[in-house]
């Protein structure tokens, strides 16, 4: 899952980026509205965390312009916590609203909820036959037995499982699993998929030659 954080305060931006990366997300950052809008329009993010009060292009304007092109889930972060501000934010097209200062666990839960909702999932448990993913603790069980996966392996499996029945191209996977700061090798993906199959069984991820990967419904 790849997130974009748009926040004008450099320290908060750094801190949020770090926290989200630790939670297993690929995170891009933007230090103002203009940069944020550019990034949001040029890549497919799973969730955008958007600060409202920014100099220059503020959060409202970014949201307004983004909504003309994309329906990426947006979580507004702001120091303005009045009801009228929340209503305005949600009506402007935001998917959720979190007033500062917030607790990190709440922020992470809201991000997870946004991802679930945007993929049509209602619970945080994903069942693929014998394989069960717990999106809250980011763990995988095979026939009731916990299987340790690396964060990257888990991220690949989670993304494919959330888009069950769809063929996900390698470039889409790249886009959603690696942030802008990472230099990815083209065969890195194959290495991770090989490792997942070894741990959970070969049939869990199907390869469509020349198209991409698939988790069957």
């Amino acid at each position: 899952m790849r997130l974009l954080v748009v926040e004008d305060d450099p320290r908060l931006l750094k801190s949020l980026t770090r926290a989200l990366r630790e939670a297993g997300y690929a995170v891009d950052s933007a230090a103002d509205g203009t940069e944020g809008l550019f990034k949001a329009e040029s890549a497919d993010y799973d969730v955008i965390l958007l600060d409202v009060m920014m100099p220059g292009l503020d959060g409202w304007s970014v949201l307004d312009r983004l909504r003309k092109k994309k329906s990426t889930p947006v979580l507004l972060l702001t120091a303005r916590g009045a009801t009228s501000d929340r209503v305005r934010g949600l009506d402007a097209g935001a998917d959720d609203y979190l007033p500062k200062p917030f607790d990190l666990p709440e922020l992470l839960a809201r991000v997870r909820a946004l991802i679930r909702r945007s993929t049509g999932q209602s619970t945080s448990r994903l069942e693929l036959g014998d394989v069960v993913l717990d999106m809250r603790s980011k763990t995988v069980e095979l026939a009731g037995r916990p299987i340790p996966l690396t964060p990257r392996e888990y991220a690949i499996l989670e993304y494919l499982a959330l888009h069950r029945g769809e063929v996900v191209t390698r470039s889409t996977l790249y886009e959603h699993l690696f942030d802008e700061s990472e230099d990815t090798l083209s065969n890195l993906l194959d290495v991770h998929v090989f490792s997942i199959r070894k741990k959970l069984g070969a049939e869990v991820i199907v390869t469509r030659r020349g198209q991409g990967y698939l988790v069957e419904p």
Partner: protein
């Protein structure tokens, strides 16, 4: 206590005053009219009485006079022997004493002594012609000599008083009488019953007072209408003011008539409300900005701490987290102290006790301290030309003014630039000028420069940890010293900030 008995409502007060005034005026008017009417009625009556009395006098002066049945002629006023009255007559009653039936009998006994003026006059007092008048004549020794038929049974002789040649008037019960004493003190009297006239006067008075009451009622009604009309704009104003105080800050009083006093009052109030609303908006903005500035470091601290605590870390990672938290805490401390400064300056106390300060050395010291703190970090040349400039001020606050202005100048001046600080005394004023060759301030930013949390260079100011309160504090301190502040700036060429304080030459 008396005030509390009086109604509070302006309308009722006006109405009460109007009623009192109207009552006073109308009562005065009615009483005056009634009195004048009465006087004129009595004058009319007296004229009638005196005309008849004059006829009686004339007739007697003509030589004729009443004669008793006994053939004793009564001497007229012309007679030279005042004591020569009837012989063998009864003793005269006391003058002014009641005239008994005997006297009336005498009157009845009198006969017309032939066709002369007296008889003609007397005949006018016959019941058929008298028109309510009656006449009586007393001889000089006080005997009733004549009495007309309509004369009341009790008719005393008037008391003699010296009024030579003039008739006199008396009111006796319901009778009005004019009388005249001839030279030998014989008395002629013509009288009239006042009953009919008094009735007429009373009826007139009743009508007059009824009309007065009617006018009073009309006046009250008109007054109520007028006060209602006059008070309506005031009620509009108070209703609007109530709505505004209930929180509808953008409500205004509908100004009906700009020219009237109340219209002007509404205009003044609306202007006040505009100012208040603007002040409220500024205050709200200030609170929102302050809370935003406080929430950001808090968010960083919470998120850093929670991330770090989520799993075991190396000592180095913990150290980094603690450092970040410390930085944020210090940022909050700076903000808190700036906010505290502003709050204190907004207070009635202002900057605190003032003393005589020489701005010159104070300025030089502050600049020297700033330079040593910044050290090699800043490569901007600071030039100080500080001449003595004595003023009345609070030294710590003035140090803050210099610090804020100079650090601002340094912040926006590129490394090869220059900052010049000058103090001067001219024409009773002390001036402090901070001039830089920095990036300058855009014209649209100039009017907002001293607003709280306003940053001309928004992105940069924020990322470098400036809150946009420095110049607001400077402005507040300068205001507290009754000084002036002026900013001139050219984009790309530099900025000059001039502060002027009233000098203190002692």
């Amino acid at each position: 206590m008396t005030l509390r008995l009086f109604p509070r409502s302006l309308r009722w007060r006006l109405q009460l005053w109007l009623a009192a005034l109207l009552m006073l005026v109308l009562t005065g008017f009615c009483v005056a009219v009634s009195r004048l009417h009465r006087i004129s009625e009595f004058q009319r009556i007296d004229e009638g009485l005196e005309a008849r009395l004059a006829q009686l006098r004339t007739s007697i002066r003509d030589g004729s006079g009443p004669v008793t049945k006994g053939g004793r002629p009564w001497e007229g006023p012309e007679e030279r022997e005042p004591r020569g009255r009837g012989r063998g007559g009864p003793p005269p009653p006391d003058r002014g004493g009641p005239v008994g039936p005997e006297g009336r009998e005498r009157g009845h006994l009198q006969e017309p002594p032939g066709v002369d003026a007296f008889d003609e006059v007397i005949s006018q007092f016959a019941p058929s012609q008298a028109k309510g008048f009656y006449a009586a004549i007393w001889s000089p020794d006080g005997f009733p000599a004549f009495r007309s038929p309509l004369a009341p049974p009790m008719l005393p002789l008037p008391i003699w008083s010296p009024a030579p040649g003039r008739s006199q008037i008396r009111t006796r019960g319901e009778y009005r009488e004019a009388y005249y004493f001839t030279m030998p003190r014989a008395c002629l009297l013509v009288g009239q019953s006042l009953r009919a006239d008094l009735d007429l006067i009373a009826r007139f008075d009743r009508r007059l007072y009824t009309a007065g009451l009617l006018v009073f009622g009309l006046g009250l009604f008109g007054g109520w209408y007028l006060t209602t009309r006059a008070i309506r704009p005031i009620e509009n104003i108070s209703a609007a003011a109530r709505r505004i105080s209930d929180g509808h800050l953008s409500d205004r009083i509908a100004e009906a008539d700009e020219g009237s006093e109340l219209g002007r009052l509404a205009g003044v109030l609306n202007t006040t409300f505009d100012r208040l609303e603007a002040a409220f908006a500024r205050q709200r903005q200030f609170t929102a900005d302050a809370s935003h500035e406080l929430r950001t470091p808090l968010t960083v601290m919470i998120s850093e701490a929670q991330t770090t605590l989520s799993r075991p870390r190396t000592a180095e990672e913990y150290r980094e987290t603690v450092e970040t938290c410390l930085e944020e805490a210090q940022r909050m401390r700076r903000l808190a102290s700036s906010l505290l400064d502003l709050a204190r300056l907004d207070d009635a106390e202002g900057v605190g006790p003032k003393e005589s300060v020489d701005l010159g050395p104070l300025c030089a010291d502050t600049v020297a301290k700033l330079t040593s703190t910044l050290g090699a970090e800043s490569r901007v040349a600071i030039q100080c030309d500080c001449q003595p400039a004595v003023m009345l001020g609070q030294p710590d606050a003035l140090v803050q003014v210099v610090t804020n202005l100079v650090s601002n100048a340094l912040q926006y001046t590129p490394p090869d630039g220059e900052v010049r600080v000058t103090t001067r005394t001219e024409a009773g004023w002390v001036s402090l000028t901070v001039m830089d060759t920095g990036c300058g301030i855009a014209e649209e930013d100039l009017p907002h420069l001293f607003e709280r949390f306003y940053r001309a260079d928004k992105a940069r100011g924020r990322s470098e940890g400036h809150f946009g309160l420095g110049l607001a504090i400077v402005k507040a301190i300068v205001d507290a010293h009754r000084g002036e502040i002026e900013v001139q700036s050219l984009l790309g060429q530099g900025t000059t900030v001039t502060v002027r304080f009233p000098g203190n030459p002692e």
